[in-house]
């Protein structure tokens, strides 16, 4: 199943390149739970066995902290940027940055601006380890020594997870990490760190055949090739519905409304009355209770799905979908899923449903011009996949006929030549980076000089990575009332909400519980296995407590993706993490778009 995700355009160092590194820092990265390339788990075992030192920085003692790490450094969630700035501070002050690399490949103007900020020349706050320790809960001497070790271990694979970007100001974590890569000369070098984490890449994996359903070009001005404006940020859809009424009553200006929902000021306003959903979207979008209010305003909801998910329960009509793994044929990235069984019941594939709609809307020629009849649908799909495969195979000199490939869809090849990693041509051959200056830019002139309110971003975004206390975080004044910070990472036995209903996993493998530190549990009279109420001003749930020393005090963890299951009083008894995550505070203090705020301040009490 993991291979199914490999289609996402994604680059990192090829897996064996990890052996070229002198130090691995896994910052919020737990590939034992969440990564796209399943062999990353294995290569990290090998790296450890080869004696490469490994440090894990994470609010939790994860399986990665146990198995890979020589040392775990616990950190408060939402404070990673502060620690990264303090590391940069040490690296600048002690001249530990790679001066030759920086002068060649990093935009000097932007670097100077960031350095001035890091050293406190622009805002009077010197971002020293002593400044950071009070924010992060990591002792200053640990930060200082880590900065030295990091800068001196060349190359270093610093893998900063995308997880930290799933919170307010998440873009700053991502950019601070890349700034560290840049000043230490680790981008585009063997064993370095050229991007953000996720997983290591397999050597020589084939791309996938691409099925051409139309077989003629899409006119540029129509459909996906065109220029349809983005009218709202997807996690703001409930605001788009609920606030629209205020605009209509004259209580909110169009400009303000568009800014909140992530729409350019001059764009037309969305006016949502119907939803078409084909995934468990309500379960996976922040502030579930607000979404339910918006759902209730809808005139019509159509769902296409395979399971009675929480989202599908709100649909007026559910169109049953075939299973992509068994009942359809599909190329996924580097995988092929053959059709193994005939579709059960009335299930149809999504493409067929969309084709039927296109037909009735008079758009068949645009969407699926090859469609003839339902009877010929399956043979058409077979033919298109066969043609795609044959074209792809011919281009790669693969001589396996389609019928043979279908029986055993595995193609092996020898991989020869040098290891690959991103930005090799820029460093090795002096090609330009794809930026205005042709160099690595730590500071974005675009963000600094553009009035983002006029764009879909809705408001200002920092032009360079700076530390801002996250709302719904440790230093939000709301922590008076809701003193625990909840993080909602990806779980091991679900892909988001997929597989939550699979009893071999949800019954056999795990208990969906809230992680709570020993000190916080004791203070609340909670023991492991007790049912606890986790709540704040937007939602509540009742789930068991997992009492542990594996999480930083003051932090609780609820894995995302559990299926919302309210009781008669509307209290979620399964534990959908999105019920406690705010969407609103974001709107008032921050542009409409930006990182998804998957953190929350909560209180926990014995149920």
């Amino acid at each position: 199943m993991m291979g199914a995700w490999a289609w996402i355009p994604y680059v990192d160092h090829e897996a064996p390149d990890i052996f070229n590194t002198k130090l691995i820092i896994m910052w919020g990265w737990d590939p034992t739970t969440s990564e796209w390339m399943i062999f990353t788990k294995y290569y990290l075992c090998l790296a450890k066995e080869r004696g490469i030192p490994i440090i894990v920085i994470d609010p939790r003692y994860t399986a990665s902290a146990e198995v890979y790490a020589d040392q775990w450094i616990p950190i408060r969630p939402g404070t990673d940027v502060a620690m990264m700035l303090a590391m940069a501070n040490v690296i600048f002050k002690e001249k530990l940055y790679d001066q030759e690399y920086v002068s060649k490949y990093v935009d000097a103007n932007g670097l100077q601006k960031w350095m001035d900020y890091v050293l406190g020349k622009t805002d009077g706050v010197d971002k020293t380890p002593e400044w950071a320790e009070k924010i992060c809960g990591v002792p200053a001497e640990t930060i200082r020594e880590l900065a030295r070790l990091y800068a001196k271990s060349k190359p270093c694979h610093l893998n900063v997870s995308w997880a930290q970007a799933r919170q307010p100001y998440g873009e700053n974590v991502a950019r601070a990490a890349i700034a560290l890569h840049a000043i230490t000369g680790n981008i585009g070098v063997p064993g370095g760190s050229s991007c953000l984490g996720g997983g290591l890449v397999a050597r020589g994996v084939y791309d996938s055949p691409i099925v051409d359903y139309r077989q003629k070009p899409v006119p540029k001005t129509e459909m996906w090739g065109g220029t349809l404006p983005v009218l709202y940020c997807n996690w703001k859809w409930a605001d788009a519905v609920l606030l629209r009424e205020k605009v209509d009553r004259g209580e909110l200006s169009k400009e303000e409304y568009n800014s909140i929902i992530g729409n350019a000021a001059d764009n037309p306003m969305p006016n949502l009355h119907m939803l078409w959903i084909n995934k468990n979207i309500f379960n996976q979008t922040v502030d579930l209770n607000k979404q339910i209010q918006a759902i209730m305003k809808m005139d019509f909801i159509v769902a296409c799905g395979r399971h009675m998910t929480p989202s599908n329960k709100y649909a007026d009509i559910i169109l049953p979908l075939t299973d992509v793994m068994f009942e359809e044929r599909h190329f996924f990235g580097n995988m092929y899923a053959p059709k193994i069984i005939e579709p059960l019941g009335e299930a149809k594939d999504l493409m067929w449903i969309q084709t039927q709609l296109a037909k009735r809307l008079g758009l068949l020629d645009l969407f699926m011009p090859l469609y003839t009849s339902d009877e010929e649908w399956d043979s058409l799909m077979e033919r298109l996949h066969k043609e795609a495969y044959e074209k792809w195979a011919a281009e790669r000199g693969i001589n396996i006929p389609w019928d043979e490939f279908k029986k055993k869809p595995i193609i092996r090849r020898d991989v020869v030549g040098e290891l690959n990693y991103p930005f090799k041509p820029q460093i090795r051959k002096g090609e330009k980076f794809n930026t205005k200056t042709g160099k690595i830019e730590i500071y974005s002139e675009y963000l600094a000089t553009t009035d983002l309110k006029k764009t879909q971003y809705g408001g200002p975004i920092d032009p360079m990575p700076v530390y801002r206390p996250v709302w719904e975080g440790f230093y939000d004044p709301k922590a008076q009332r809701y003193p625990l910070m909840a993080i909602t990472p990806h779980g091991r036995y679900r892909i988001h909400s997929v597989q939550d209903s699979n009893p071999w996993l949800s019954e056999d493998c795990y208990r969906h519980a809230v992680w709570i530190n020993v000190a916080d549990a004791k203070a609340r009279g909670v023991k492991d296995g007790d049912l606890v109420r986790v709540y704040n001003d937007v939602g509540e749930m009742v789930i068991p407590a997992y009492v542990t020393s594996r999480i930083v005090p003051g932090v609780v963890c609820i894995y995302e993706g559990a299926w919302y299951a309210p009781n008669a009083q509307g209290v979620d008894r399964r534990g959908c993490s999105d019920i406690i995550c705010h969407s609103e505070s974001a709107a008032q203090r921050y542009p409409g778009t930006g990182a998804w705020p998957f953190v929350a301040l909560v209180e926990v009490e014995k149920f």
Partner: protein
Amino acid sequence: MPQYGFFFDQSRCIGCRACAVACKDWNDLPEGPVKWLRIYEYEKGSFPNVRVHYHFIPCFHCENPVCIDASSARGIYKEDKYGAVLIDPEKATRLRDAAAACPYGSIVFENDASDAKASKCTMCIDRLEQGLLPACVAACPTRALDFGPLETLQKKYGVNRDLEDLPSSNLTKPAVVFKPHAPKKQLVPYDVNKALKLLAERNNLPPLYATPDDVIKIPEGLLKRNKLVLKPTSVQELHALTKDDNA
């Protein structure tokens, strides 16, 4: 008599349960406590000096299978070709005494009735006959598992049959080789007392806890996943203890 066995590298085990799911899949076991392969995850120590232990507990097909001698129904036998310890299905409802004898708790039951049907890991003998590895071994993403003639495994990985918290191998001579989890190493200084002080404070808000003892002193009964319980008293308890909290 040939003896096949498992190799378990605890230093590579991430506790992902791919092995346990593969076991149930191949052997068509229902969801619930009939777990021929149990994965345990539990912690020891206190914040931040905590370790997590993972254990892989199928049947170790012991060279000295005490369950066979303990079975008054003569319902367990050691098979000749691989040395697998197997249950005679005719006698599966009379195996409580055999199960009581096994120090690893490897004979499992559908329910707590005295005549509940017993079952256990078969070494995937049906797969071995097809030239395949046991389902668990084939499923492991970090290659923390291996399988083969015990002598071969011992040549490859050594002769250690003991692991922290498991019963001594002297009792039954389990057909297994273990590699323990790796020691920790401090790469940068980390002052625990200072960290615990820092982690209590946050700006002008009241401290999160009064003293470091609040974090590091763990009263009995507060945690459940802090010890290895190989032989719980009910199927429900077994089912609960062989889960984790990772999703």
